[in-house]
Symmetry: C2
Subunit: 253 residues, 2 copies
DNA sequence: CCTGACTGTTGCAATATGTGCAACGCTCAT
DNA sequence: ATGAGCGTTGCACATATTGCAACAGTCAGG
């Protein structure tokens, strides 16, 4: 809608791939160098872009700070966090909280396992949407047309033999998940890691987030992990209750 | 330099404080609602801004993805990571890697302690610049005028009784650090946590990053932690060597 | 030491671009 | 039903953005 801003913002993903100099940026944007220069300058003033010693540009520190701040201000996260911690204390495994947003599912909180063997994940990182237990819950609750659209346009990488192979299989799985109100990922992302997940619902019953407990085979078997399902669901419900209770909007203006 | 972009980018920190509706954004930008709307739309198209169910805007998922991607593409980080892991395996404590950028110091990598008691920190989060051991190393190496400017304009919060109290004390500390080539933080940020840090240098000898080992009192005393100094310095030097060896620029165009 | 190629940078004039306005549609509460 | 409050659209004006061309600085090679 706004050409200038559009161009400026297009620079960001471009720089995310790696540092680039003025000429490269101008070329890839299809604009004159002087134009690119002015856009980069504006981005620089806002700290979104940084000029390293060799004069090339890369993404700047404020970007990280912004992302952090935004995440810490999510109200679901704030409400859920103590519950996640308590769940972690009870079972010892890694606990995740995730939300869906525009074709992506991302972790917004995490409490690390107390066992030495830990799974790899990072807050803010988009999750493997076709296999993760939390992703299934979040997608299962989308309105039908959107769910169809999203599942159609997804890639279905075979991380392991048990990964979701294609859109149809995924939609069947989502139907099951919607029905039962919880989800699992049994080695669909990494061979040796299993997850159990439950949904957090808002006042209107819509799923606003999902939480999961993950543990590697070497610590507990899939069956043992499933034992935790009631506890996970209870925790998720507790968060739902608290979340839909009041809407604590900050109006400190 | 570019008014439109400038206004659009000003929306981001504003939304980082929390969700806001169109009117609020327009007011705080000092522009007409229709203008704000178009800016927000452009931001939305790029995924930097998300419209939640109550129609209010907040920062979007792509922001997190961008921050992640940018961080993972930092070449120092890539080179350093295996060294950090090895150091962690050797000593068991939390290992951090940090860089300085435009008045901020931020963690760009972290390997978690193998002990159950862990310190709080998060990749991408700006560090307590006046007390952190890594911050001291990075600031100590700035050219004198810039160092003066930065240290002057900083706040000096007293996290603990041993925090750096003011600019002068800080500059004295920085002088010492520059002299000795390593730094510590002994309970200056959190009473019970100590750190030892060493600098990573580029080919020209300038400090490009700093790494630290942190551990709480309950696990090892400050003296025991200092025992690790030679190991930390050796690791930092190894990274320096590898980093200044070649400049592995990605040119996969 | 000079030359030429390359990069980033600035001033300027033309016009495409973004702006504020006013009117519309919508939802929600009274 | 009625009105207030919000987001949204079309339009005419003029401002802010653009590409150009010329400049400055750096580096490599002859």
């Amino acid at each position: 809608m706004s050409q200038t801003v559009d161009r400026a913002l297009s620079i960001l993903p471009l720089l995310a791939e790696g540092p680039a100099d003025l000429g490269q940026v101008a070329d890839r944007l299809g604009v004159h160098k002087s134009t690119a220069l002015r856009l980069l300058r504006t981005l620089h003033e806002h700290g979104l872009v940084y000029r390293q010693s060799d004069q090339r540009y890369r993404l700047g520190a404020r970007l990280f700070a912004l992302a952090q701040e935004a995440m810490e201000n999510l109200d679901i996260r704030e409400i859920a966090h103590p519950h996640l911690v308590r769940l972690n204390e009870a079972c010892g495994h890694t606990v995740h909280l995730a939300v869906y947003e525009e074709n992506e599912v991302l972790y917004i909180d995490k409490v690390e396992s107390r066992y030495p063997v830990r799974m790899y994940s990072r807050i803010g990182k988009p999750v493997a949407i076709t296999v993760a237990a939390v992703a299934k819950l979040l997608l299962a609750d989308l309105p039908e047309p959107e769910r169809r659209a999203v599942t159609d346009q997804l890639d279905y990488p075979m991380y392991t033999a048990r990964s979701t192979p294609n859109a149809e299989a995924f939609r069947r799985e989502l139907a099951t998940v919607r029905e039962q109100g919880w989800a699992t990922d049994l080695g669909g992302h990494e061979e040796s890691i299993n997850c159990v997940a439950a949904p957090v619902r808002g006042a209107d019953g819509r799923v606003v987030a999902a939480m999961s407990v993950s543990a590697p085979n070497v610590v507990v078997t899939a069956e043992e992990l499933l034992t935790l399902l009631p506890l996970v669901r209870r925790t998720a419900d507790a968060i739902s209750g608290e979340y839909s209770g009041r809407t604590p909007i900050k109006e400190t203006t």
